[in-house]
Symmetry: C2
Subunit: 548 residues, 2 copies
Amino acid sequence: MHSKFDQHLDRNAANFAALSPLSFLERTASVYPEKLAIVHGSLRQDWGMTYARCRQLASSLQRAGIGKNDTVAVILPNTPPMVEAHFGVPMSGAVLNTLNTRLDPEALAFMLDHGEAKALIVDPEFAPVIAKALKLRTRSEPLLVIQVDDEVYGEAAAQVGTVSYEDFVAQGDASFAWELPEDEWDAIALNYTSGTTGNPKGVVYHHRGAATNAISNVLEWDMPKHSVYLWTLPMFHCNGWCFPWTVAARAGVNVCLRRVDAKAIFDAIRMHGVTHYCGAPIVQSLLVNASEELKQGLPAGVKAMVAGAAPPASMIEGMEALGFDLTHVYGLTETYGPATVCAQHEAWNALDIGERARLNARQGVRYHLQREVRVMDPETLLPVPWDGETMGEIMFRGNIAMKGYLKNPQATDDAFRGGWFHSGDLAVQYPDGYIQIKDRSKDIIISGGENISSIEVEDVLYRHPAVLAAAVVAKPDEKWGETPCAFLEIKAGAQVSEQDIIAHCKLHLAGFKVPRTVVFGELPKTSTGKIQKFELRKQVGSVQAVAM
Amino acid sequence: MHSKFDQHLDRNAANFAALSPLSFLERTASVYPEKLAIVHGSLRQDWGMTYARCRQLASSLQRAGIGKNDTVAVILPNTPPMVEAHFGVPMSGAVLNTLNTRLDPEALAFMLDHGEAKALIVDPEFAPVIAKALKLRTRSEPLLVIQVDDEVYGEAAAQVGTVSYEDFVAQGDASFAWELPEDEWDAIALNYTSGTTGNPKGVVYHHRGAATNAISNVLEWDMPKHSVYLWTLPMFHCNGWCFPWTVAARAGVNVCLRRVDAKAIFDAIRMHGVTHYCGAPIVQSLLVNASEELKQGLPAGVKAMVAGAAPPASMIEGMEALGFDLTHVYGLTETYGPATVCAQHEAWNALDIGERARLNARQGVRYHLQREVRVMDPETLLPVPWDGETMGEIMFRGNIAMKGYLKNPQATDDAFRGGWFHSGDLAVQYPDGYIQIKDRSKDIIISGGENISSIEVEDVLYRHPAVLAAAVVAKPDEKWGETPCAFLEIKAGAQVSEQDIIAHCKLHLAGFKVPRTVVFGELPKTSTGKIQKFELRKQVGSVQAVAM
């Protein structure tokens, strides 16, 4: 029996519309057409023009036979075409597949094949690698290749496109009547995971989730209208954690940056009045460790988000010294980027730096419009006690979780087992409800039957003043099964021995957790600054243990 | 045929949850349990306690046999039980029906009958009127009456409840396992329109719309976490335009206020560090026209929203003198309150006050997460030209529109005709896309075949320095059909004659638009400060025209 509150009270075209970040662009372009949208080199493009160009792009894609649920891949750095692709591609009905610019031709060819891309937009910098990838592609269906010209980059070393991006856009209709998806569950983006084991998985995002996470970004940062956002985080990574859509919702400014270095970042902050940016710890470290000369004349109160690893005390102190305000978030490709935030409390300000660092190192609480995060036993799905000690797996549910993995029903079912998204990260939950990652499931080191959290050991290593970056992995050991092996990158000019490191660890760790092996050198990192532990595991067999 | 982006990529418990403002309370209580949530008299209640009490209320309602799609009516001023009802009632599955506290027993009895209320929460101030309403009620089903005690009010003049609110809450379970609605389209609230013609209509809100408008409030105001919100706008009016939910989303403070007067408002602003409030023009006028003594020591930058009528220049100037920041919004009960906002532009700051007032008097552009607003020919549904002259009807579509009218399929169909919500307000659209109301459909005066916008005449009247409030209605006329009749409330101490007013109008209006009749006296207003033109229409036959 229907209730009175359900009778003749259905959804209709007047009272229901798909939630979609595409609406954000439409509104901003109509209310603030003259406001600055994109800065790149000498380019200054307003929201009216940006919307017109996105409609042109969508229109040209449709004329090229690309429409609903077709895939448009892009290999672009943080440039204006990348911002435009985040709107123009889904406005055509297609799904945006941003390719990681650091990948090799084989991986790119795999993604072009697996994602069934019908078009590909290529930056001049990546034309050579794409030329190779196109040869490795096995699909016989045609692929429309569109090549960008960018005077900030200069001349391309190869030509792979049959049309230039500017010509393609110019052919389109600036008043193209695009439509919102009928169903907000429609796909908007496809993002391949880094794939440290087996082939990468294609994470599918929907319009509802993209809109929801984009707004959550505003809520976390109290981000005002007309914020100035600097693109240090690659837009190919979880769609720049949804910030192209956030910036549109705020009628803000996208300050593009082809290449991340300390000088370019500080220059952009000063020149354009940057108010917000995101980045992996490596980006924040770059800034903190930059020369004093580079740091002169910065505006106060710039807000930074850091994800990918907990910010160590030295980073928090360094950011404070810069006058920047650091927020620690955590998430995965599958959760559109941030899905928890270490929400700060005023009372923390009174604590000493060690204690503040300890609190801020936690992954925290669910992101604003995410339904729930829990640490649970992965088998029973029962929550762990909030004691800061019992480990479980971080699991999410709510609107900020992917549709699933493309053409991979088994992986999708595994990921959503029991009605929760299984992150694969092991964590504890504190009495205040804040969670803290102890390790990836696969990064736990089991030594003499005892679990060792590689992150716990890394935290101690980071506290050593000479350490710039640290990674601890399991080294097979006949006696103990596994022992911890530390790989360390040392700060420029610092001097430190293996024995110094071991002595430091012994002060702060139980004996069985102290690394038996220490290796100095540059650490292999992903394009987003994450240390690639799988590379270190390949090396681990050939290194020698230190005499204890 | 399903696309690859729809295969085995369905909604499930891990990646989909109902959008609901109830989630806002849950998150805020878990992240900021110790943060202040409610101030009332000497009461200081934090978010942890507020959430516990809302769960208790929901639990007690369920134990009393109240559940999904049952109606719980409340007649409460802006007090803590009213804040709690916005969460506790829907957490039980029931629908919150906030009754207008200014209504007579007949109207209240109609609503209790029509809404089929199963429970009623009564403030001591309204026990006498409810005692009468209960006698007029025709339904035979039992009604659980819960009466609030409030030491800020004092002793109740009547006892209508069978249980006190505090006892009822205390009986509930503070860890009650409430659930989000399975469908975000489920009803969350029922709000009766003022019903100037015929019986009031019951506007049904859903969880999706409530969440969407609550977040739009944050976006418009750039409202930061822990904002301090003063309750000048009645919460019974469009659920306080959804601000009980907005304040919860921001982990802000609800500063309650039983009665709106200038001293109480200024005192609250100073004492509690109020940052935001909303109110009808009459509330803003109260503040602007208060004595200088009352205005001493106010914090700068308090943000105010005004709705219900365009703010005249004197109000804008007065607010600026206070150091307050005024935002003009427009909407209807059917659109959850604000559905447009006169979004301001930096460039306006350089204009003179007359020009700024002219721009700010416009109803503006669609609210943030609303899909669309248009001015259209009500018959053809074609948009009017954006010339600032051609009139049409304001129409909305998107998620910030009601489910429909309760048990009124005909009115629902009429309101949503052609896939747009018909506001009944007549407006023009300017070249910048901003809309401006010219009149309610029924308020247009037709004199000698010419349309006269009563709002245009009122705007001119408001510019006269002696005028505090003005309303213009049609007066039947043998020769012209209708002529404009002005009702005026004059500022304390001001002296002005009918002839002065007529002369002022002749300076600014075409002759046929000048009122032929001027009446001085207090204007009848609704509980939300809107002038009741239907009351004036009753009087209009007995007034004499002025010699022109």
